[in-house]
């Protein structure tokens, strides 16, 4: 459990990063290929929304694989949540999504990253743009915002392939219904249900000013998804007049948006 004291925390010295043991308490199925792992990490010191962890798996023959995953849970929660999408031919993601069970363990180190971080101490409207599993760190931000009952405006633009691929769908619906200051706009890029009221197709340069904050509102913008997604969206934002320094990006490996 962590208490966020000040906005300056992101620049504060970091405790030495060491590998710790993470034990799986519970596994939550988010979609047909995405699961959230709820972890008990022995000496967890807390984290800021947007940070990630490195995890390391060791096989019996000594083979090791290491990957990074964003923390999807807010600092207010006791268990650490990592949301993992099964990637085709992904040796780690396939293990985590298909084989891992409650009670299993692996090594973890973190929290890592101070650049791609947002807390309620940051002023200004919050604009989150997610591509596929890029929603994970942004969900930590939204969950933190909800726990803290922040009233400042927030918008999530979330691109997924189809409705079945939307991660945290019910939770996002509930959050938006319960909070007049939060808007959630879904873009479905490949398959849309009949009578789809959200955006059809990719998040494009037309949708951004239509749905988003104008540059004059100085929103803090966070974009997370695959490299092409992040590059396209951040380029559009800058072309639309948003201050490049107000746009923070994090690129994920292969993902489905």
């Amino acid at each position: 459990m962590t208490v966020i004291e000040t906005a300056a925390t992101a620049a504060a010295p970091v405790r030495r990063l060491a590998w710790q043991l993470a034990r799986v308490r519970e596994i939550v199925t988010e979609t047909y290929r995405v699961k959230s792992l709820m972890l008990d990490v022995t000496s967890w010191q807390g984290h800021l929304p947007g940070q990630h962890v490195d995890i390391r798996l060791t096989a019996e023959d000594g083979y090791q694989a290491q990957r990074s995953y964003s923390i999807a849970s807010p600092p207010e929660d006791d268990l650490l949540a990592l949301t993992v999408e099964r990637v085709e031919n992904g040796e780690v993601s396939r293990y985590l999504v298909d084989d891992l069970r409650a009670g299993d363990q692996f090594e973890l180190r973190g929290p890592i990253g101070g650049y791609f971080v947002w807390t309620v101490a940051t002023r200004g409207p919050l604009w989150l743009i997610a591509g596929g599993s890029g929603i994970a760190p942004l969900m930590a931000m939204l969950r933190h915002r909800a726990r803290r009952k922040l009233r400042a405006p927030a918008l999530l633009l979330y691109s997924s392939r189809s409705l079945e691929d939307v991660i945290y769908r019910e939770e996002l619906d509930m959050m938006a219904r319960g909070d007049p200051h939060l808007r959630v706009v879904h873009a479905l890029t490949r398959k849309q249900p009949q009578r789809w009221m959200g955006h059809w197709g990719r998040i494009d340069k037309a949708l951004l000013p239509q749905a988003g904050f104008p540059p004059s509102q100085n929103a803090r913008i966070y974009v997370c998804g695959s490299t092409p997604f992040v590059e396209d969206v951040s380029r559009f934002l800058v072309e639309l007049g948003h201050d490049p320094l107000a746009v923070k990006t994090e690129r994920f490996g292969p993902s489905g948006e």
Binding site: A10, A11, A12, P13, V14, L17, H52, D54, S68, R109, G110, I112, G113, G114, Y115, F116, V117, S226, T227, P228, K248, T249, E250, R251, F252, G253, P254
Partner: protein
């Protein structure tokens, strides 16, 4: 076989774990100035290559190498001759 390497290009955020073994203050939010083109950016926004061998961090404007880091069994290496400064 993966043909398109650019999809796999991550950013300095992904090198956070490796770099944080070396730096005391938080590194991904530090500002770094490129010796080659003079642009300044947060380390977390640099283009990360060769992550499996260490980290090669390149300027997002000119692709010049700003930082290289390797963690070996015998110690950690850091080279930053492509950067004018780091500001925390």
């Amino acid at each position: 076989m993966t043909e398109n390497v650019s999809d796999l290009v991550l950013d300095g955020n992904a090198a956070g774990g490796l770099l944080q073994e070396i730096f005391v203050p938080e590194i991904t939010s530090a500002q770094i100035e490129c010796e080659a083109c003079g642009s300044t950016a947060a380390v977390g926004t640099l283009h990360l290559y060769a992550a499996a061998m260490g980290a090669v961090l390149r300027c997002s404007h000119c692709d010049g190498i700003l930082m290289r880091a390797v963690h070996t069994a015998h110690g950690r290496w850091l080279e930053m001759k492509g950067a004018r400064y780091l500001r925390f």
